[in-house]
Every structure is written in C-alpha cells, then in structure tokens.
C-alpha cells in the first residue's frame, strides 16, 4: 500500500499499462514535457518516448479521429481531453465513429480506445472548464462510461479501461486530483472488482444514496452527518455509468425502500433520471417514497463565484435525504 494523490494514482496506472502492452499509446494536448495541465501524465513521455506519449496539435476531433486510425492499426490509444468542455469538437468522431465502428463492421474492427476526461466543477475555473457531459455518452450505445471516486479505483480502473476491447470514457473528478488515498500497486488486475460493478461504500438501512465521481466523497460525508441524527444512509458509488449495475442498486433499494441520486450535471435527461426510472420500474413495490434527485441546475455551468450554489453540497444532499424520508425539508408543503 502506498499513500498517493488521485492524479498520481492515474499516472501510475497509465505507466503500468504502457509497460505491459507495447500497443498502448497516449495522445493529447500538453501531455508530454508538461505532463498535462493537471500533471496526470507527468514523466511518462520522458520514460516511454515521444512515439508512445504523443503531444498532438490542438484539434480534438483530430486527436479522436487519428486514435480511430491507430486502433484500426492494432493500437490501444489513450486519449486525454484536456477539459470536459473541450470534448465537443470530438463529439462526432466519438459518437459516429468510435462508438459505432464495432457494430458497423460486425465485430471485425475493435475500438479499444480510452478517453480520459477531467470533469466537474468546484475549482473556480472560467467557462468550459467545469462541465459534466457524461449523459451525452451514456446515451450513446457502443460506449462504456466509467467514473472514478478514489485513488485505488483510479489506479485500477484506468488499467481496466485500457484493457477493454470496447471504447471507454473515463471521467476523472478534477477537484479530487490532489486528494490522497491508499493504493495497492501490486494488486492483481484480474482479481479486482469489475469496472462494470457499483460499490457500496457506506452501508446503511434507511435510504440509498447514489453518487459517482466527485460527489462520492460528499455523499459519504453526508452519510456521516446523517448518522449523527440517527439516519442510516447507504452510499453507493456507481463507478460504471454505462452500463449501470442494477444488481447492486436494486439490492440496496429493496433493503432501504428509499432512493436519492446526486450528480453535478443538470437534472433533465441526466443519469439520475435513468437511475430513478429504472429503479422505479424494477422495484416499484419496494419503494416507500418517490426517488429524489439532487443535481446541478439546468443552467449553463455558472461563473465560479456562484458555482457552490450549483453543485450539490452536503446540506443539499441531506435535504434530499430528508425528502426521501418524509422528514421536514426545504420543500415541505409543496406538491410533487
């Protein structure tokens, strides 16, 4: 076990993948000498060379499209999109090419591409640097979408993503990059929890609280605070956003009867909607209350002095927990 930051854990996972498979190639803007704007690729170009850790021109569609060509040639490209809000120029290549190639070619052409996306807010950035675009991609068939919440998962799941023969979007919570945690670098990848599985991170019996990425920590803090009031919250870290692990979700909701989902992304058509609808379909008779969503608002990501109003924090999540439990809350007395 080694104590390391989130960013260092991803770096270590990338290094391991580069060591284990000569076909792994890293591509992105400023990932070489600089080590990425968040230093996640720090030192990798120096150790593996410019042909395996490639600084690309500033063209996101170009990065993604050339990654498709490299995958055609048998490579496993790992693409860094510098910030969440910069992914849109690559959207066509991701949705029309990366996601569909395997289907289009009836399995002849695999797209083992990993797309790393630092995402989410909370770091006081200007526009386009704090977005949560994951639902665009969970809505796109042919892609796998995961989000990591702690250094150990960051280390393990980047390697699982790279080893996957399917394209994977790997969402990294940028405001947690400097958080530290224990990482077991000697752990056996094959024995690790599948990247498709959710994980119960805090056991509880009164309400299920579902989070992913940056809000897992907030959700755990909320569960601790709720415990002080005698409310037992079960926190689930989704880890996989597409596909969702309904086995784990259903088991929890059947136990607690109440569901709260939280994410930074806006509410409409977000992942919370999919979780709420599917859980309602699958275990309606176990629900004691309507599922509650505690999310960002349906606004463009706000200027940074207001972002803490937009981001679900501990108190807003607890307010949502109160709603699910029918306890007094900010919306008491309102219909629906």
């Amino acid at each position: 076990m080694t104590q390391m930051t989130f960013a260092r854990a991803i770096n270590s996972g990338l290094r391991k993948s580069l060591e284990n498979d000569p076909k792994v190639i890293l591509m992105g803007e400023d990932i070489g000498a600089l080590g990425g704007v968040f230093r996640v690729t720090d030192g990798l170009q120096k150790d593996f060379g410019t042909h395996r850790v490639v600084d690309t021109p500033l063209a996101e569609s170009g990065i993604m499209g050339t990654a498709v060509g490299l995958a055609y040639r048998g490579y496993r490209p790992v693409v860094e999109i510098q910030f969440d809000g910069f992914i849109y120029p690559a959207f066509d290549q991701i949705v029309s090419q990366v996601a569909k190639m395997h289907y289009r070619t009836q399995g002849a052409v695999k797209m083992p591409i990993t797309i790393r996306v630092p995402f989410g807010g909370g770091i006081g950035s200007p526009e386009h640097h704090s977005e949560s675009p994951e639902a665009y991609f969970t809505h796109t068939s042919g892609l796998r979408v995961i989000s990591v919440s702690n250094p150990q998962d960051a280390y393990t799941m980047i390697q699982q993503a790279i080893a996957s023969d399917d394209p994977v979007l790997y969402f990294e919570p940028k405001r947690r990059y400097h958080d530290k945690g224990e990482v077991d670098e000697s752990s056996d990848l094959a024995a690790a929890l599948s990247m498709e599985k959710a994980r119960v991170v805090t056991e509880g019996k009164d309400v299920t609280l579902v989070a992913y990425g940056p809000l897992v920590k907030t959700a755990r803090d909320a569960a601790l605070a709720a415990a002080d009031e005698g409310v037992s919250v079960e926190v689930i870290d989704l880890r996989s956003l597409a596909p969702l692990d309904f086995v784990t979700l259903e088991a929890s909701v059947r136990k607690t009867g109440r569901l709260v989902i939280t994410h930074e992304a806006g509410q409409s058509g977000g992942l919370g909607a999919e979780v709420a609808a599917s859980i309602t379909e699958r275990c309606f008779y176990h629900l004691e209350a309507a599922p509650v969503r505690v999310t960002g608002f349906d606004v463009p990501y706000p200027y940074s002095k207001l972002e803490m109003h937009h981001l679900p924090g501990l108190d807003r999540i607890l307010d949502g927990v109160d709603r699910a439990l029918g306890r007094p809350n900010s919306l008491s007395g309102l219909e629906g």
Binding site: H51, G65, T66, G69, Y72, Q97, T105, V109, D245
Partner: protein
C-alpha cells in the same frame, strides 16, 4: 506540376514563399497524359513512373474501368427495381478510382468514402459486398482486414483522420505501407480533413490524401467550397500536392505512385486533386437537373475517361474485336454475379440488431434483447421463434 514548388524534395525545401504563387495558379497546371481524343502526351516527370505499364496492363486498366461502370449501372438498375434502397453512382470517375487503386500495394490501407466503389472493387471487394449496405442488409459490406479497405465512410471527411492515424501507426511499426484517404471536393471544407492535414504534416505520416474533385457536393458547386484550386490548399499545411486530370487513368496512376513512393521513403503526406466529374446524380435519390446545366454534362461527356482510354488503345492497335468481346463478357459476368448476389442475399434476422454493439457482454443490452425476444415469441410465430434461435 507540383503546386508546392518544392516538388519531390519534400516539404521543408519549398517554404512559405511559394504559397502566393500557388494560390494564383489555375487549371493550367493540370497534368494530362491522355487527351480526350486518345493521344498520349509525353511528360518529363510523370512518364518515368509509367515505364512498366505494358500494353497488356493498359488493356487491364480499361477492363477494370468498363467493369466498374457496368457494376455501377447494374446497381443503379437494381435500385430502380426496388432491390436496393439507395445507390451513389460513380459514373465519370472511373479513371480516378481505378488509376489510383491500381497503384497501391497489397499492404497499403484504404479509407474510402461511400462513392469509392471502383477502389473497393480493385482491392478485391466482391460485387455483392459493394451493395450490401445499400440494400439495408448490413451497416457495411465487408471485413476491412480481408482487403485492406476500411468500410465506406458516410460522414463526410471523417475517414481522412482515420487514414492519418493509421499512417501514424505504420510509422510507429517501422513499416513502409501507406494509408490512403479518399474524399471529394465537398469534404475539403470539413474540419476533419483540415485537421487530418495538420496531423499528417506535423508527424510526417505516410498518408496520401486523394481528393476526387467531381465538381459537385450534391447540389453545391466546388466554387462554393473553395476560392482556390483544391490542390493549392495543401501548401498551407506544408503538404506537397499535385493536380491531375482525373479522367486520365495514366495521369492518376503516375501521381498516385509518386505520392506513395514519397510516403514509403519517409517523405510524408501528399495531396492529390483528381479533377473529374460526377456525371450522374449524387445518389439515386437526387435530381441534378434542378441545379446544373445540361451543357456542362455534355462538355464532360466529351472528356469521358473510358472513351479516351479506348481511343488510345485504338491508336495503339490494341482494340481488337476479341479484346472488346472479352471485356464485354467480363462486365456482363460481373453484373450477373452482382444481380444474383443481391437478390439471393440472406435476410438479416430481428435479433441481429443486438449483435456487435459491444465486443463483450453488456448487461443493459442483454436485458433489452431478452425482453424483445420474449415479445417476438409472444406471437407464437414459428418463423419468429426460429429466427430467434438462429440469432443465438
């Protein structure tokens, strides 16, 4: 003839000083080796790249062009008869496609657009595989790795990046194969084509950008895409380019060989503009009479790529009755295969829609497939039940 005055010397030797001159160049730069009347014009540089083209090979190029025109006509007929949902004719572009494809080596890799059926045919794609997607029986017609041709791209210009990435892979592998991107004049306006040229130049990737300027992007004339010759755009990226008569199979073949040779020997990318004409509609769903003048078609009919090669063969005394009969018989045989292959193509089964979305099992999709198969089975139709079994 190189719009980049650096010529074969590569991109570093030219320098930005040439771009102003290049921008002012007109069609006068067009390289032509066979006139519309079938006269062979000698060329100080291109001829060297054609010395091995024997009379027999000239005849074989002619045969391929005749056969692909016949395939194209047969596919159009199949669409009119309701056997295909749509077809994008390549009529008029036979020399561009056959001349370039015949210059390739087996280990080169082609990234074509939807209209490049002549290229695919040359690479060994079976006639019925050319129409599989247009009949609606699959999303694409063939396994790319069996013929080293990617499936045909519908998103305009997207494949130019795939070719460039593939070429970067060739480079990493230390191989001397070349990736070739085929696209049209309209695609040169797309960001992806421009980004592909940026990447190709930066990494000096072994890729050839083969642009068929057929003058029309559905209803939009090429002048709407560009105020300079398309070939001249390349110099802005530091990529040497050539502008050749795309209805002249020898000019196209020589230009492609020059570009391939440069790429194989570390000289990086080349842009070729093959000036040709889409004599038919954009697709069978299009009506060109709404947007272009009939006189224009007549002008280009006089420059027909097959007529001019035929005239050259005649001048050389190669157009014997036996040869013509053999070519016609071959075209008829391939067309017959295409028709039979189309009509007898096995129908896809309902649950096939769930196949190959992912390369590994996916719990969401498995559930949807399970539910839909139960739905189908609820009709109790033995045919449905059988197809369900077949899909498993």
């Amino acid at each position: 003839m190189f719009t980049d005055d650096a010529g074969k010397g590569g991109i570093s030797a030219g320098g930005p000083g040439n771009s102003e001159n290049s921008a002012r160049r007109t069609g006068g730069d067009l390289v032509q080796l066979i006139t519309p009347a079938g006269e062979r014009i000698s060329h100080p540089e291109f001829d060297a790249w054609l010395q091995d083209v024997s009379d027999e090979q000239l005849g074989s190029l002619y045969e391929d062009m005749v056969v692909i025109r016949r395939i194209d006509a047969e596919a159009t007929a199949l669409q009119r008869q309701g056997e295909l949902a749509l077809w994008p004719p390549l009529l008029g572009q036979e020399a561009s496609q056959i001349g370039s494809a015949r210059a390739l080596r087996e280990d080169d890799f082609v990234f074509p657009s939807y209209r490049d059926n002549g290229v695919a045919y040359c690479r060994g794609v079976k006639p019925e595989d050319l129409v599989r997607a247009w009949r609606g029986n699959a999303s694409a017609g063939w396994d790319p790795f069996t013929v080293n041709v990617a499936t045909q791209q519908i998103i305009i210009g997207a494949q130019s990046l795939h070719a460039t990435g593939y070429a970067m892979g060739i480079q990493n592998d230390g191989a001397d194969a070349v990736a070739v991107a085929y696209f049209g004049d309209g695609a040169t306006s797309e960001g992806d084509v421009n980004e592909a040229m940026v990447f190709a130049a930066s990494f000096q990737a072994p890729v050839v950008f083969f642009c068929q300027n057929n003058h029309w992007a559905i209803s939009e004339p090429v002048r709407l895409q560009s105020h300079i010759q398309l070939a001249d755009r390349a110099s802005g990226f530091g990529i040497p380019s050539m502008r050749v008569d795309g209805n002249d199979v020898l000019a196209v073949m020589a230009a492609t060989r020059i570009a391939l040779d440069r790429a194989r020997h570390g000289g990086g990318p080349t842009f070729i503009e093959a000036v040709t004409y889409r004599m038919g509609p954009h697709t069978t769903a299009d009506d060109p009479t709404r947007y272009r003048d009939a006189n224009e078609l007549e002008d280009w009919a006089a420059k027909d790529p097959i007529s001019r090669l035929k005239a050259l063969l005649e001048r050389k005394g190669l157009l014997t009755a036996d040869f013509e009969a053999a070519v016609a018989a071959q075209a008829d045989a391939v067309a017959k295969d295409l028709r039979a292959g189309t009509i007898n193509m096995p129908e896809p089964q309902p649950l096939d829609i769930f196949k190959h979305v992912y390369s590994t099992p996916n719990s969401w999709l498995d559930r949807q497939q399970d539910h839909y198969s139960r739905y189908l089975a609820s009709f109790g139709d033995p045919a449905e039940a059988a197809s369900e079994e077949g899909a498993r």
